[in-house]
Amino acid sequence: MDERAKMSARRVQVYYGTNHALKNVDVDILDKTVTAFIGPSGCGKSTFLRCLNRMNDTVASARVEGLIEMDGRNIYDSRVDPVQLRAKVGMVFQKPNPFPKSIYDNVAYGPKIHGLTRNKAELDEVVESSLRKAALWNEVKDRLAAPGTGLSGGQQQRLCIARAVATSPEVLLMDEPCSALDPIATAQVEELIDELRSQFSVVIVTHSMQQAARVSQRTAFFHLGSLVEYGETGTIFTAPNDPRTESYITGRIG
């Protein structure tokens, strides 16, 4: 195991009913690093991402085998509370999904239910710092009571990032966070990802190989449920080892 590993997966298998969706995956997610998962649709990258915060627990037919550790502790241990885990391993989804509440309440929700703040002043502080980290504060500070759903798509996505950041996660999972955004909003989110990297690990699933190349330091290529290649992003995009990786990233049949 890499000494800088924040999370480490060994021999991970996922089945959806009889469908063997993920086969024997070994990955170390490094601390304070952006890791990109790429691969064609159905390759298992999102499935694996969802293993990292036990989102697959919510899928009745899903069965996860193998070992996934965070800081050396098995996250599938029966003593681990998945809700607490998800505060430590936050998630941002493809489509911005703010709660039908005010901007303030969207961000305050996590700290409130996890009891992370003692009073209103502390909560205000967490909301402001989270919105600042998500590079949204200046745009919304005068209308915190306005509904989150009234923001533009790019702002909504940054609101969701602020919401995820508010619980002080150690790892942030992002499942195609920019696929519903225009190029400017995408650039803003990418810039944000690069800033967040100084505080925690980011794992991003993306269909845009250019995005993976732009934002990540490490890239993992999944194909047909297997991890084909995992390495330094610059190497993956200039001289990958596996011919399947080469075929995929150069736009040949994968």
Binding site: A213, A239, S247, T250, G251, R252, I253
Partner: protein
């Protein structure tokens, strides 16, 4: 790996630019051979043709660089495609330099034709030019075949050119020591020999680029070099 892109226009763009490289290679090889023939046969007309022909080589190089910039901007090539584009750019630059050396050879031929011949040295230059054109041709063939083993062999063969240059250097030095009135002609011939030797270096750099293209890494170890001044000290 599949050989064709899902987006077939990408393949057409890549093929077009590589076709230009091969055309450029053909022109440079012909220019070098013609220039060496013109020198040996004192054919000023042919020399003039070589000088004029360099424009076409330069234009092709420009076109290749423009196409490569376009490919990078529009297609965002990655991995092997990216290495192909980078390789094409460097090969084009190396061929452009080689073309300049052929032109320079032709220029000096115009001067040398007015002077009395210096033994059989123009014959030696011609043999050296032929050897270097073979090297260049093989380097370009290795590129087309994506053959790292042939490319590695070319790196080693460049020392034959270096040896021919060293022999010619001694020959010219002898002419100059025998009769100072030979110095002008010998100096011109020496520049010609040196330039042909540099074409060999460009062929080697193309070969190294092929190794990068195929393996993803530039060859590491120093290539063998023929000692330049070996045995020269005693003559000083």
């Amino acid at each position: 790996m599949e050989n064709t892109h899902i987006l077939s226009a990408f393949d057409r763009d890549l093929e077009a630019v590589q076709t230009h490289v091969m055309r450029m290679g053909g022109l440079v090889e012909a220019a070098l051979l013609d220039a060496a023939d013109a020198l040996d046969n004192r054919d000023e007309e042919l020399a003039q043709q070589v000088r004029a022909g360099d424009k076409a080589i330069d234009a092709l190089e420009q076109e290749i660089q423009t196409e490569c910039a376009r490919l990078i901007a529009l297609r965002s090539p990655a991995a092997g495609d990216l290495r192909t584009v980078l390789t094409v750019m460097r090969i084009a630059a190396a061929l452009e330099r080689a073309g300049d050396y052929a032109k320079n050879l032709a220029k000096r031929t115009a001067v040398l034709s007015q002077m009395s011949p210096l033994g059989a040295s123009t014959g030696s230059v011609k043999r050296m030019a032929r050897a270097v054109v073979m090297l260049l041709k093989d380097a370009l063939d290795a590129y087309i075949a994506r053959d790292a083993a042939v490319a590695e062999d070319i790196r080693n063969r460049d020392q034959d050119i270096d040896q021919m240059y060293n022999a010619l250097f001694r020959e010219l030095l002898t002419h100059m020591m025998e009769d100072p009135s030979n110095i002008t002609a010998a100096m011109h011939l020496h520049f010609i020999a040196k330039n042909i030797e540099r074409v060999g270096d460009h062929a080697t750099s193309i070969a190294e680029q092929v190794i990068y293209l195929v393996t993803g890494a530039m060859p590491g170890e120093e290539r063998p070099k023929a000692e330049f001044m070996q045995g020269m000290e005693t003559q000083n």
